[in-house]
């Protein structure tokens, strides 16, 4: 008799009015519910790792210097080494997050993913935000849902996916049987686990892209602050396109999406303001002074406001 069975028997001893058959019945419920809640917790933990790492990738992508970036694709690839270094670092980090998503997929393999969706949705949204921001910084365009799915499949095959026995989410008995396998079979087992596709839902993609717009707003403000006046205009055009896409969506899809569209609208207004200031001030103020003017956006009170909004959203 293992630990759990012992404690169940003790529980029965403490409750003498408990009939044998009721005891049996509820013992099995205890096991079922424990298994379900444990799985939920494992997914929440993985999702949290995903969120943390994705947020770091976003900060990394913001560190790409905006002052010498041009808006066209051609000129982008020939610019500074710093850009290339940061982009490839982000790529690598995104692949690491993809491994975490793979672990989530492994947990979900015998279940309907919708059953535990609330456990891992935040992590996925954050990842999509990071991935789409990466693609925007690199290629100034929006990654599509299909591309995001393909990216996940492609990159995990290339990684050296070291999913340990604990992380693969197998339960106790399965793990013990697996340990009996020889090394070769274990390796194959791990590779098979890696081929499980991650169930990326439409909703998570939409929510991630909606969050992307907040980062674009920050990017445009930073760009203006460092003297790059072309980038905010490109971002504005891109944002308007996205805004229209979201507006066209019927509201019954999701209340959360509708809420995020409100935030998106406000981000759009901020970007329009940035472009307005560039246009208006650009004509009357000498260049170097305008740079200083925009840099006042780096003043403590303004940063406070932006940070507060950021915290409120998250």
């Amino acid at each position: 008799m293992n630990c759990e069975e012992k404690s169940l028997k003790e529980a029965q001893g403490h409750t003498p009015e408990l009939k044998e058959d009721v005891f049996e019945l509820f013992s099995s419920f205890q096991k079922q519910l424990d298994a379900k809640y444990d799985k939920h917790e494992r997914l929440v933990k993985l999702s949290r790792d995903c969120t943390i790492q994705s947020k770091r990738i976003i900060f990394l992508l913001h560190r790409i210097p905006t002052s010498d970036l041009e808006e066209t694709d051609k000129e982008m690839s020939s610019c500074s080494n710093q850009f290339n270094d940061l982009i490839s670092e982000a790529d690598q980090k995104l692949q690491n997050v993809a491994v975490i998503l793979k672990k989530i997929a492994v947990e979900l393999q015998n279940d309907d993913p919708e059953r535990f969706h609330t456990a891992y949705t935040n992590g996925v949204q954050e990842f999509i935000e990071a991935l789409s921001f990466y693609v925007f910084q690199k290629e100034r365009r929006l990654i599509s849902l299909e591309e995001a799915k393909k990216w996940l499949e492609m990159n995990v095959h290339e990684t050296d996916g070291n999913i340990t026995k604990e992380e693969s989410g197998l339960d106790h008995e399965e793990r013990e049987t697996k340990l009996g396998l020889d090394q070769q079979e274990e390796k194959t087992e791990e590779l098979v686990l890696l081929t499980i596709p991650f169930p990326l839902s439409d909703i998570d993609y939409l929510l991630g892209v909606a969050d992307l717009t907040g980062e674009l707003m920050r990017l445009s403000i930073n760009a203006a602050g460092s003297g790059n006046w072309k980038l905010p205009y490109s971002i504005l055009e891109f944002m308007r396109e996205l805004y229209c896409c979201f507006l066209r969506l019927r509201p019954y899809i999701s209340k959360i999406v509708s809420r995020k569209v409100t935030t998106l609208r406000e981000s759009l207004f901020k970007i329009e303001n940035v472009c307005y200031r560039i246009k208006v001030r650009g004509s009357e103020v000498p260049q170097h002074m305008l740079v200083d003017e925009e840099n006042s956006k780096n003043s403590p009170s303004y940063i406070q406001e932006v940070t507060e909004n950021f915290d409120a959203e998250n």
Partner: protein
């Protein structure tokens, strides 16, 4: 990320309209399910109303009441099979919220019926058979454990009320039977490790049902009414 020549780089508007189409299809399914669930809810309501009769039913009339409500259970079965047929494969949890509450009510009604007929605790298996659904997600449209458990907790509340009403009808034995039954149930529930959700809250209310029943038992015992 390498260039992907085989993947067409779609414009945002195309990406979104594709997503919208998928949701439109889903919405059609939802409307159909909603309509079917409404029918199911109506039948459940009628079943509940009929079974309320037990509170003013003398002991000998109970089997008759149980037979009278059988047709409703058949209707419920057929509604559920309609809902099952509307679901695309492997999408139970996507639409689960539509029928979650009515399923809890149906579990309560099934377990009440079983108790009235035989004094037994309906197992998850029993209830699933009565409703014509599966037990495990893998097998198809199934009965979720939590819904079944919530049904049992509702049963406990109903029985605490029945204990009071059976005394009114002069049935002094029933409260003792109910007391034993609900104590057993409570003991079973104490084995569970619950999270702070609606199931936990409902379970916390179980002790008040127990208390009510114990008071009835006490009132009868102290006056020797049951002999």
């Amino acid at each position: 990320m390498e260039a992907q020549p085989d993947v067409v780089r779609s414009k945002p508007a195309d990406v979104f309209s594709k997503i919208q189409k998928k949701f439109d299809q889903e919405q059609e399914t939802r409307e159909a399910i909603r309509a079917a669930v409404k029918e199911l809810e109506q039948t459940a309501r009628e079943l509940l109303t009929s079974l309320q009769g037990v509170h003013q039913c003398t002991k000998d009339r109970i089997p008759e009441l149980c037979t009278q409500v059988e047709p409703y259970f058949d209707k419920v079965k057929s509604h559920l099979s309609t809902i099952q047929s509307l679901l695309p494969p492997n999408t139970y949890y996507k639409y689960y919220d539509h029928w979650k509450f009515v399923m809890q009510r149906l579990c309560f009604l099934c377990s009440l019926q079983v108790y009235l007929k035989s004094g037994d605790l309906a197992t998850q298996h029993n209830v699933a058979d009565m409703l014509g659904v599966h037990l495990k997600p893998e097998d198809g449209f199934h009965l979720e454990v939590e819904d079944y458990l919530l049904g049992l907790l509702n049963l406990a509340s109903e029985l605490s009320r029945l204990a009071v009403n059976s005394v009114i009808l002069g049935n002094f034995k029933q409260p003792f039977e109910i007391s034993e039954f609900v104590s057993n149930l409570s003991g079973g529930f104490r084995l569970l490790n619950l999270k702070n959700d609606s199931l936990r809250k409902k379970f916390d209310a179980l002790k008040y049902d127990l208390k009510k029943i114990e008071e009835v038992v006490y009132d009868i015992s102290i006056r020797g009414l049951h002999s």
